[in-house]
Amino acid sequence: MRRIISVLLENESGALARVVGLFAQRGYNIESLTVSPTNDLTLSRMTITTDVVDNATLEQMMKQLHKLVDVLRVSELTQSANVERELLLIKVRTVGSEAREEVKRTCDIYRGQIVDITQNLYTIQLTGVGSKLDSFVATMDDASEIVEVVRSGVCGIARGDKALRA
């Protein structure tokens, strides 16, 4: 089962390595991991998506994360209402005005933005949940030639009053 875990940790060198090391060491799977400093620059916020076999594994994973000395808070987003987003940057090659029109149209339907353009290349930015990005990439594959794809991995936040704060 897919789970999204949010981690608030000290923004210190080595902190990320400890988290990644923990997952590798205990055989936990990481589907995606994003990390960046928060508004308080001494703290980093991390979002990990993982696939666990059962609740006991998830519980152990969260406890192990919390045991790391650098970690302040751990919470599982998928437990309640949440917003999850991922950023996609995709570069596609198109030849001919019809194809370019098709790319532009698809982009509009998905509410993507074209952020760079050359004679034959479009670079498009799109945010959303993973499945939306998957679907966009598949559509683009039909409409054009994909040159490269970059995805940020999932960022997540709880809806409503719930917050992960120091």
């Binding site: 060491q25 152990q60 045991k67």
Partner: protein, 574 residues
């Protein structure tokens, strides 16, 4: 404010932390710190012959005293040689601070001479680590390291100290912080009140309870509470390998060690219990045997300071996060306050059953005309030392026999590598204990495989006159490996023989120690008496034991707790 260099700050911080002994080995990256040590008269440094031994010495110093052990080594191989020692301490939750030198900051990443990423190499086996990139960071890093190492579930902490940071020419204002607090690290000590109530209620109503006491009870100094609770409610008590001594080994309520080589009565009691109350034990695989068959009728209560230990291997019905000492005291207070008492009739029935199992006398063994049995050696050791020695051990058959046949009276008396199972631990461990307790008898029970893994420390013993007794149970083979090969590998003894065991008497004499060879049972007691009478000498007693002896009881693989081999020919009913 006082102005000190980075190197001086290291030494002063240790001094201000109250460190009296440090174990280590110098090298290029820590020469400035060693120079500062040379000029300090407060810290006694022990130069080992291999860095692994320095860590084991500091580790056992900590295990025997409860203080934090401290190690100083150089970069690269000096640091990596420590890894086995650090892993050993990590597995058994022993507080250590390991200071390792590093190449100068401006060379880090350049593959400089003796550069190793010690923070990276040690990461999976430390509780935490620090790398100091400026001298000003040193006092606070050391303060935090000692705080983290010794609180919560203790463990080793590494501090990486690049050479330029130590530079004796650059002086900075020095002040050692009195206290330290970390917003991301706040171990829970006292138990949740609701859980305490529920735990007392469950314990009172249990008809077949077992108190299962582990190393956490020793670390938390909870022996008094364990004894009080056990006596108040007349509970049977079993200790894990790490918990031996937490409850007195000769107490009538002690049913022996449990697990793979536990007693018949301890394993039977566990399997048939209706309540298992784990105090600082972590349901290790060497205890539970097959978890799917583990204690089918028991409700599990578990106190542990480390939440990850709870419900990791065995689901806890009643988890309590906290220090064993504090939580047990809370429970005792509540029992006192409410005058709660269990039903003595059902407890007596339970004891009748346990005593029936006890009557099997599972530790009985056959003596031989021709060979000394390892059990005899440990029993003789117990007799000669009156049960008062600090006993360290290596890993293997001798370790299990020592655990089974030397009933430890008190905590911190039995020092062994339980979690990691590190051969080579015993001798340096004995040295660490002897340095901490120069007036107590300290003996290293070892095997001919294990002792050769850190035998170079005989030289350190000579240099500092650390008069430990080494009791070698010599079976000219890797006994435990051989036992498994005989039992499970069709008797094929692949590489479990020591075809060239040295003459340990001569070897000891080469280091100016005393060696005694024992071949006959009648020589054993006089040899041990002499060994402990020679209080200011290292005495190496090499006892030729029966090479065919196995350790029993032994749990049957994939079975439940109560499935055991009782001898080479006898097994419990499946």
């Amino acid at each position: 404010m006082e102005m000190l260099s980075g190197a001086e700050m290291v030494v002063r911080s240790l001094q201000d932390e109250g460190i009296e002994h440090i174990f280590g080995y110098p090298g290029g990256s820590v020469l400035d710190i060693y120079d500062a040590i040379f000029q300090s008269d407060k810290i006694e440094h022990y130069l080992v012959r291999h860095e692994q031994a320095a860590v084991h010495m500091a580790d056992a110093y900590s295990r025997s005293t409860g203080k934090v052990g401290c190690v100083l080594v150089t970069a690269g191989p000096g640091a990596t040689n420590c890894i086995t020692g650090i892993a050993t301490a990590y597995m058994d939750s022993i507080p250590l601070v390991v200071l390792s030198g590093q190449v100068p900051t401006f060379w880090i990443g350049d593959d400089a001479f003796q550069e190793t990423d010690m923070i990276g190499v040690s990461r999976p086996v430390v509780k935490h680590s620090f790398s100091c990139r400026t001298a000003e960071e040193i006092p606070i890093a050391i303060k935090k390291a000692f705080y983290i190492a010794s609180t919560g579930r203790p463990g080793p902490v590494v501090i990486d100290l690049p050479k330029d940071v130590q530079n004796p020419l650059n002086k900075f204002p020095y002040e050692y912080p009195e206290t330290v607090s970390l917003r991301s690290y706040n171990p829970t000590l006292s138990g949740h009140k609701g859980q305490i109530k529920r735990a007392v209620a469950a314990l009172i109503s249990a008809k077949k309870p077992v108190l299962y006491v582990g190393g956490g009870a020793i670390i938390a100094n909870a022996s008094k509470q364990v004894l009080e609770l056990a006596e108040k409610l007349n509970l049977p008590v079993t200790n894990t390998l790490m918990g031996l001594g937490a409850f007195p080994g000769e107490h009538k309520q002690f049913i022996g060690m449990l697990g793979m080589h536990g007693t018949y009565e301890a394993n039977k009691s566990m399997h048939n219990a209706d309540l298992i109350f784990s105090c600082g034990a972590r349901f290790d695989d060497r205890v539970t045997n097959n978890v799917d068959k583990f204690c089918p009728n028991a409700k599990i209560m578990h106190i542990d300071i480390d939440p990850t230990s709870i419900s990791k291997n065995i689901h806890a019905d009643l988890p309590i996060v906290g220090s064993v000492e504090v939580v047990l005291q809370q429970m005792l207070d509540l029992i006192e306050e409410t005058q709660a008492a269990n039903d003595s009739e059902s407890i007596n029935l339970w004891w009748d059953q346990i005593n029936e199992w006890r009557a099997k006398d599972c530790l009985a063994y056959k003596t031989s005309e021709t060979h000394i049995k390892p059990q005899q050696v440990i029993q003789c050791l117990y007799k000669v030392t009156k049960g008062d020695a600090i006993v360290t051990s290596d890993v293997g058959q001798h370790q299990m026999v020592a655990a089974q046949y030397y009933p430890f009276k008190e905590p911190r008396q039995w020092i062994n590598s339980g979690g990691a199972g590190t051969m080579g631990f015993g001798l340096p461990a004995a040295m660490g204990c002897k340095i901490a307790f120069p007036d107590r008898p300290v003996v290293c029970v070892t095997g001919d495989g294990s002792i050769q893994m850190n035998i170079q420390e005989l030289s350190t013993c000579m240099q500092y006159n650390i008069p430990v007794v080494i009791l070698l149970l010599n079976n000219r083979s890797l006994g435990m490996v051989k036992q498994w090969q005989k039992m499970f590998y069709g008797g094929r003894q692949s590489h479990s023989y020591m075809d060239s065991v040295p003459d340990f008497v001569k070897l000891s004499e080469a280091y100016n120690h005393i060696g005694i060879k024992v071949d006959k049972i009648e020589e054993l007691e006089p040899a041990l008496i002499r060994a402990f009478e020679l209080k200011d000498r290292v005495v190496f007693v090499d006892v030729a034991i029966d090479p065919e002896e196995h350790v029993y009881p032994m749990q049957v693989k994939f079975g439940s707790m109560q499935d055991m081999y009782l001898s080479k020919t006898e097994q419990t009913d499946a």
